[in-house]
């Protein structure tokens, strides 16, 4: 504790504390975890903002993400190149949004991005089918999958374009208080 760490400058830590929901200790711990993922890639000294990215395959093996059915989508939606390779800033961003201190509205925005597999800003039937398959280990028959997705769109679609925009999604979320605790 105190000012003995040499990984970040004080200004960098202040910037992180202002822009994310983490405290100083949590940011240093996150850096430790990030470094553990790829010790040869990630430098210990971040004072001059090195530009290194940890590949997707290493990140989705973290114990916190390993059992999450959407781990690939989550990591992809936080990466700038869309391929899932995260720099440290993106890594911190991902965990900041997923933490319990982030407000629900922010999580809803990112959840929409995660469920949106083809990245067209709408949840169409194919997106919902892929979501359902991830959640049920692909053990439902294709007819059942179709039926469920059609019903879901029918229930939540308010503007009648047979796909869910963010407004439809958000409206449904406000009626679900257990969302993303």
């Amino acid at each position: 504790m105190g000012n003995k760490q040499t990984i970040f400058t004080d200004e960098q830590l202040d910037a992180y504390q202002d822009c994310t929901f983490f405290t100083r200790k949590e940011i240093l711990r996150l850096h430790g975890r990030y470094h553990e993922l790829a010790p040869h890639l990630v430098p210990m000294d971040y004072t001059n903002e090195p530009d290194c990215k940890v590949p997707l395959a290493l990140i989705v093996n973290m114990p916190e993400l390993k059992e999450n059915p959407f781990r690939n989508r989550i990591v992809e939606s936080f990466s700038e190149d869309g391929m899932g390779n995260l720099s440290f800033n993106e890594f911190v961003d991902m965990f900041s949004v997923l933490s319990e201190m982030a407000p629900r509205e922010l999580k809803a925005i990112y959840a929409f991005k995660i469920y949106d597999f083809n990245v067209d800003n709408y949840l169409c039937k194919e997106d919902l089918e892929k979501t359902l398959n991830r959640l049920t280990k692909e053990e439902l028959t294709p007819e059942e999958v179709q039926l469920v997705c059609e019903k879901a769109i029918e229930e939540a679609d308010l503007d009648g374009d047979s796909k869910l925009s963010f407004a439809d999604f958000e409206n449904m979320i406000t009626r679900a208080p257990d969302f993303l605790r």
């Binding site: 202040d14 910037a15 992180y16 504390q17 202002d18 822009c19 994310t20 929901f21 405290t23 100083r24 200790k25 114990p63 916190e64 390993k66 059992e67 999450n68 059915p69 936080f78 700038e80 800033n89 993106e90 911190v92 961003d93 900041s96 997923l98 407000p103 509205e105 922010l106 925005i109 990112y110 469920y115 919902l128 979501t131 359902l132 959640l135 049920t136 280990k137 053990e139 439902l140 059942e144 469920v148 997705c149 019903k151 879901a152 769109i153 229930e155 939540a156 999604f169 449904m172 979320i173 009626r175 679900a176 208080p177 257990d178 969302f179 993303l180 605790r181």
Partner: protein, 587 residues
């Protein structure tokens, strides 16, 4: 000077902003520093972009400010900028420090990851109750006990009574004459550098504490309702199940697998919901009615048997016999809910939520009837029979709390352990048990009710409660990890939490409050011991104080308020004799 420079800077920055990013900057500039930080954090942008915006704000701010200031004054403005950053840094350090003091954070994460949010809600509730009790202990100890200890540190114990080990269990004997109970407190105004009126202190501490509890509960209930209550909307069931029912806090492989299975089953369950024929409906109704009558009968029977046990067995000299009543009460509280769970297996409920409600209502009925009988006995029989009756009631409550604790421990170790053994070796059809959140939360609520009722008679009871809750956390955690499996059905955890807080408030808290109020209002304090000896009723302490206050100039408004309040209350009282007590019994 600083304010007008700030406004000038903001106006200047507004003129500067042109592009869309700078529109955002323009919006952020208009906020105060703290709001600005929150707004930046809530932006759905990457950390790089947020840092850039933050830099723009502070960098521009610094440049413009230093320019303006170099025109007007010297370098005073740079100090102001640095001040707000160091102020924030101080706030962050405080937040970090508070985090290190957080209790059990790692364990709760582990439990949440393995068992999901609904099981975690029990442990969150336990932690909340622990904090509550720490607060109540500090209040009581600080305002009632410490002044007495400072003034008169040695308790006046009769010469032939010494400490034997049995007191920890019975609460009588040596403890009877200490500050543990009402009887150990004096009724004098303690002298010394500051005059401290023990009577007023005792009365007002308890009264204000109960009021604060009530306010805290109302607030939690209101905020919980606002956040979590949702009108059940069956038409959005599929969409809800698909998109928002998944519990993302689970990190355990087995739990995830079970959830997936469950979701699959519930989504493909459409075919099973056929209409029931009339005869089947009648049969179900008959079964419900039968079991409800049976459970109500059990509850009433338990209450009656406690009354007869008490009436027949009260003997001051044989201390071991006094242990019989708490033993029977705790045994009933342990065994009868198991019967209720058994009844549940034979009834067919259309939804899991109805099943939990039925179970909860039956358990509440049982516990309320037992508590009502005990309170009635204490108020009507013990109060008239013994000289220092408040201490007697305090001891009875102490014994109830201790036995409740022992039975909870045994219930965990043997109950869940035995269910596990039966479920895995003897009757594999039953399977590994799940953690029964509803029943455990009700046990916690009952334990807290005992503490609330007891606070008037035994001010240090919260200390025992703190110890009990602390140990209980670890026992339940170990039992959970070793004996239970993750829940098979994904319940609506948020709504359950709201219901639990509502449950804590209405019957139990109002009941304990009315009992303490009845004691203060109607019962004569004992003559020989305690802070209210010699008075007609406890509340007359306030009357005496108001009379004294009448002599002091400037306090006429207090006297006026008091007289009006008393007039109103007398008006209500004349119309409803024993209103509070009957209300409690009805509940």
């Amino acid at each position: 000077m600083v304010v007008c420079v700030k406004i000038t800077v903001r106006a200047y920055l507004v003129i500067l902003c042109v592009t869309e990013e700078q529109n955002l900057v323009k919006e952020l500039v208009a906020l105060s520093t703290q709001d600005r930080i929150w707004a930046i954090r809530d932006l759905p942008m990457s950390v790089d972009e947020k840092k850039h915006i933050r830099w723009v704000l502070t960098d521009k701010q610094l440049k413009v400010m230093s320019f303006v200031v170099s025109v007007i004054l010297g370098t005073k403005l740079k100090v102001q900028c640095l001040f707000s950053q160091s102020f924030r840094r101080c706030g962050y350090n405080l937040r970090s420090a508070r985090q290190t003091l957080e209790l059990w954070q790692g364990i709760m994460k582990e439990i949440g990851g393995t068992f999901g949010t609904s099981v975690l809600s029990y442990f969150v509730f336990l932690k909340w109750l622990l904090m509550f009790n720490i607060f109540s202990f500090l209040v009581n100890f600080g305002f009632i006990t410490i002044p007495l200890l400072v003034f008169d540190p040695s308790p006046n114990i009769p010469p032939n009574v010494s400490f034997r080990g049995l007191e920890i269990l019975t609460g009588a004997g040596y403890f009877q004459y200490t500050i543990m109970y009402y009887g150990g407190y004096s009724n004098e105004t303690l002298g010394g550098p500051v005059k401290y009126n023990m009577q007023l202190a005792y009365f007002f501490t308890i009264a204000i504490y109960m009021v604060l509890c009530g306010i805290a509960l109302i607030f939690s209930m209101a905020s919980s309702f606002k956040k979590n209550y949702v009108l059940a909307d069956p038409s959005s069931n599929k969409a809800w199940q698909l998109l928002s029912s998944w519990d993302f806090s689970i990190t355990n492989e087995r739990a995830v697998r079970q959830r997936k299975n469950n979701l699959r089953e519930s989504l493909s369950e459409k075919a099973q919901r056929r209409q029931l024929t009339l005869s089947e409906k009648l049969k179900h109704f008959g079964v419900y009615l039968g079991f409800w009558l049976l459970s109500t009968g059990l509850a009433v029977g338990c209450g009656a048997s406690i009354y007869y046990l008490y009436a027949a067995n009260w003997s001051l000299l044989q201390e071991a016999k006094t242990l019989l009543v708490p033993f029977v009460v705790s045994l009933m509280n342990l065994v009868v809910p198991l019967f209720y769970s058994l009844f549940n297996k034979f009834e067919h409920y259309s939804s899991q939520r109805r099943q939990i409600y039925a179970l909860v209502v039956r358990n509440v009925l049982l516990k309320m009837s037992i508590l009502a009988v005990l309170c009635y006995y204490w108020m009507n029989v013990v109060a008239k029979k013994f000289s220092c009756w408040e201490s007697m009631v305090g001891q009875a409550l102490y014994r109830l709390v201790i036995f409740d604790f022992l039975f909870l421990m045994l219930g965990s170790f043997f109950g869940e352990f035995l269910s596990n053994v039966i479920g895995t070796r003897l009757l594999p059809r039953l399977g590994v048990p799940e953690f029964d959140v509803a029943r455990n939360v009700l046990e916690l609520i009952y334990a807290q009710t005992l503490a609330w009722i007891g606070i008037y008679f035994s001010p240090l009871l919260p200390a025992i409660q703190i110890f009990k809750l602390f140990i209980l956390f670890y026992i339940k955690k170990v039992s959970l990890m070793k004996n239970c499996q993750p829940p098979r059905r994904s319940g609506r955890a948020a709504q359950m939490q709201t219901i639990f807080i509502a449950l804590l408030f209405f019957p139990y808290f109002v009941g304990s409050l009315s009992m303490v109020a009845y004691t203060a209002w109607r019962l004569t304090p004992s003559e020989q011991c305690g802070p209210f000896r010699g008075l007609n009723n406890t509340f007359s302490v306030v009357g005496v104080w108001i009379d004294d206050l009448g002599g002091i100039p400037g306090s006429q408004w207090v006297v006026w308020i008091y007289q009006n309040v008393i007039r109103t209350i007398h008006g209500i009282k004349n119309n409803s004799e024993d209103y509070l007590f009957i209300l409690y019994l009805k509940l």
